[in-house]
């Protein structure tokens, strides 16, 4: 017994690391539900009470949860459902229907899905029988036959609610809200959306039937709370098998979060967005650098992860271009400066490039027109330049008007970092007006 305990207490480092990776990845990637929600207690209570009244008293309700992306809307709902289903009275008395605006792209599919999830009598196995019109009539009849006190409450969860508002006539929304406002089977309609103007999408009669309850999830998080969250998210719980390792790990995380450079990086991320997802992304990148050789997260790891997160995509693409393509980009930049953002075509760019070549004695970059054309097309394929209008076939390719899709700061920045950039090209880029 004691031997086993000792063995439990000190696992080899490799196994500990595997455990840590498993636990933390579960937390960061699978959006594991927290034990207790922080900062949204009021919203949690409101929603829980509301759903409880539907489940226990049979009161029909409708509510919208509105918040920016990554603000924890689904997590709030899931936490509420978890707490709700702990009650015995609710467990057997609640039917749940999950719909997602991205999957149920029209009412026909949504209706089939509802019928299937409710296991109504026109379902055999997983197939729903009958036409669209019959399904609708059948579902409405079923809901109409129910009444407040005796039939099972149904919870409809509409994820990406705003997409349902784009269905034809908003039939589904009208019917769900209408059921929730009339003496039929008790239902609760919970919509999740990130659009603040979602009510303006609804038709008047649909809007009138909606109860206008909105739960807003807007985080008023401060930076110190953000730091605490990061620390809590990376720390191990007490039930980790190897206590010694867990203690060391947690101490390591604590010193990490107090480090000045790490704090700076986190501050930068906090400034740019407060959502959970980008934070999880950053922490995930840190975590993936943990291995047996490197058994703790170091400040350098955080800096590297942040650099990966914040890298500019377009500037990175410029690093991979050939000198000729880069020269064309510079020529376009000059054209943009001279003609104040007017669109250009290949001929203009080539002329600008030739002007640069003329001023130079050696003609190292003296390419033929077809080669330049090929480079130009390559840039178009990378979407660094875009045709002004979509009509590709009408004009010849040389004369088609294009626009540069880059900011000048991006060009200058990537020129600094371009591997072995010729000095004269750099100078040409710096010089005003070619």
């Amino acid at each position: 017994m004691s031997k086993r305990k000792v063995k439990n207490d000190h696992m080899p480092v490799g196994e500990c690391i595997t455990q840590v990776q498993k636990i933390l990845r579960e937390r960061l990637c699978h959006q594991q539900l927290p034990q207790k929600l922080v900062g949204v207690e009021a919203q949690h209570k409101h929603l829980l009470e509301l759903l409880k009244r539907t489940a226990i008293h049979g009161e029909s309700n409708s509510v919208l949860i509105v918040g920016p992306r990554g603000a924890g809307k689904t997590m709030l709902l899931k936490c509420v459902l978890r707490d709700l289903l702990e009650e015995k009275e609710v467990q057997k008395n609640l039917l749940q229907v999950y719909l997602n605006g991205l999957l149920q792209t029209d009412d026909r599919i949504a209706l089939k899905e509802i019928t299937r999830q409710l296991h109504l009598e026109n379902v055999v196995g997983d197939r729903v029988f009958g036409s669209f019109a019959e399904n609708l009539a059948f579902l409405l009849d079923a809901l109409k036959k129910g009444d407040r006190s005796s039939s099972c409450p149904v919870l409809f969860i509409l994820d990406e609610f705003d997409l349902f508002a784009h269905h034809k006539n908003q039939t589904l929304l009208y019917n769900l809200f209408d059921v929730s406002q009339s003496a039929q089977a008790p239902i609760a309609v919970v919509g999740l959306t990130c659009r603040l103007d979602v009510l303006e999408l609804l038709e008047k009669r649909v809007k009138s039937r909606f109860s206008h309850r909105q739960i807003h999830l807007l985080s008023s998080l401060t930076f110190s709370q953000y730091l605490d969250q990061v620390q809590a998210q990376l720390s191990l719980a007490h039930d980790f098998p190897d206590t010694k390792f867990a203690e060391d790990w947690n101490a390591g995380i604590k010193t990490l979060c107090e480090d000045k450079s790490v704090e700076e990086v986190l501050q930068k991320h906090f400034n740019s967005s407060k959502d959970f997802r980008s934070k999880h992304m950053l922490l995930m990148l840190c975590l993936s650098r943990v291995s047996v050789a490197n058994p703790a997260i170091k400040p350098a790891d955080v800096l590297e992860a942040s650099r990966l997160c914040l890298a500019d995509a377009k500037a990175n693409m410029l690093h991979g271009l050939s000198i000729l393509e880069l020269c064309l980009i510079i020529a376009m930049k000059h054209l943009n400066d001279i003609y104040e953002g007017e669109p250009f075509n290949l001929q203009m760019v080539h002329n600008e490039f030739k002007k640069f070549l003329q001023r130079k004695s050696n003609s190292m970059y003296n390419y033929d027109q077809p080669v330049v054309m090929k480079a130009f097309e390559h840039l178009q394929q990378l979407e660094l330049i875009r045709p002004v209008d979509g009509s590709l076939a009408k004009t010849q390719r040389e004369y088609q008007l294009m626009r540069l899709m880059l900011d000048h700061s991006q060009i200058m920045e990537s020129l600094q970092k371009y591997p072995q950039c010729p000095t004269d090209v750099k100078q040409w880029a710096m010089s005003a007006f070619g």
Binding site: N93, S151, H216, S220, M405, D407
Partner: protein, 391 residues
């Protein structure tokens, strides 16, 4: 395949809990679904519809009526009440017996389904739309002894519009047949619907018997809540007045009024005071009517707020209400420098812009346009400035 499936929802294992205290009881009564026996404040309209339908039933003739009004003014509820009263009268042999059927444009997938539903509710037969139309035509055209009058309620009439308008035409043409004995009551929201969307021969068959339901005034709303509460003492007098005045000023929608009262009882329950007072009602009103844009801007991250300021600065500079991302980004970088923050890269700036676009504080062009996409504000500039200044 299940041919004779009966539509039903499974029943619950435990019966629903009954309301335990005054507030819960009030909440149950205030729910929109608990329609009272007789609707207050709609006596005149009730009388008009009642006498219209009653006279048609007694004479054995047919007719059409068009009822309009904004949502939540009691149109459908009044018609249902009329039909309940007439049914009672028919049961007591005061008037000849009749059929009542109802269809709703929103509860159909296609306007032609109206035929199917009418036929099914009249005879229980199932048929395709074309076949049902033919059967109904025959039924209403031919004389039959001992035929009962049929009262047909068509809710959300505007959705029965088709390009040839044959569904509407038929619905209004059948009552004019000699042997049809059909009374059609139609409900829609807009007053000028017949003139706006119907061609002449349809509008003329609909006739001129029209009625419009006015939005409720604040006194009527107050009376409605009082009658619903029915002596249950849960609200302060002033609180009720505030709700009804607010709703009457905005829309006169009774549903809204009841929803707000119901929310107020919930808020009251949390604060654990006996009566629903002014403060609870104020809170409920704020929750339901206030716009969330300002709060959303206040809760946005530093860079997002900065970006909104950059948008406004660029609008001021251009004198337009639209700018490209590139132009705004220049302002954004300048603001970053002023605020002493590190300038952000273009990718990051685009991400910030997309986040603001996703919650519709900004209106954006499709994101594949990159730095060229044009940006507009979805809120007024004053709102943005107010939200950013307040803290």
């Amino acid at each position: 395949t299940p041919r004779h499936a009966t539509p039903s929802i499974p029943s619950r294992s435990l019966p629903a809990r009954q309301p335990a205290n005054v507030l819960e009881e009030a909440r149950e009564r205030l729910h929109v679904s608990s329609v009272p026996e007789s609707l207050p404040c709609r006596e005149q309209e009730f009388q008009d519809i009642y006498s219209f339908v009653e006279s048609r039933i007694i004479d054995g003739t047919g007719g059409c009526m068009y009822i309009s009004g904004v949502p939540g003014t009691g149109k459908t509820a009044t018609v249902h009440e009329v039909m309940r009263c007439l049914q009672r009268a028919a049961d007591e042999d005061e008037i000849p017996p009749f059929h009542f059927i109802e269809i709703n444009g929103m509860k159909m997938t296609d306007p032609h389904q109206a035929y199917v539903q009418v036929l099914q509710k009249l005879t229980g037969q199932k048929a395709t739309a074309d076949h049902a139309a033919a059967l109904l035509e025959k039924r209403f055209d031919n004389p039959a002894p001992r035929k009962e009058t049929t009262v047909l309620l068509v809710d959300e009439l505007d959705l029965l519009w088709t390009r040839k308008q044959n569904v509407m035409y038929n619905l209004f043409d059948w009552p004019t047949r000699r042997h049809a004995r059909l009374v059609v009551l139609t409900i829609a929201n807009t007053m000028d619907l017949p003139e706006r969307i119907m061609i002449n021969r349809v509008a003329s068959r609909l006739g001129l018997t029209r009625m419009s339901f006015q939005p409720y005034s604040f006194k009527q709303l107050q009376q409605i809540i009082m009658s619903r509460l029915n002596k249950a003492k849960a609200f302060e007098e002033d609180a009720l007045q505030l709700v009804s005045r607010k709703v009457a000023a905005l829309s006169g929608d009774a549903r809204r009024c009841l929803d707000i009262c119901r929310r107020a009882t919930e808020i009251c329950e949390h604060s654990a005071t006996g009566l629903v007072g002014m403060s609870h009602v104020m809170e409920a009103l704020n929750e339901m009517f206030s716009s969330s844009y300002i709060m959303a801007i206040k809760c946005a991250s530093v860079q997002e707020q900065l970006f909104l300021r950059a948008v406004i600065a660029e609008f001021r500079r251009l004198g337009l209400e639209e700018a490209t991302f590139q132009q705004v980004f220049v302002q954004h970088q300048a603001l970053c420098r002023v605020e002493g923050l590190k300038p952000i890269s273009v990718s990051e700036g685009l991400a910030v812009c997309q986040r603001l676009g996703a919650c519709r504080l900004l209106l954006l062009e499709p994101s594949h346009l990159g730095v060229m996409q044009r940006i507009r504000l979805n809120v007024s500039q004053d709102d943005v400035l107010y939200a950013l200044k307040a803290d």
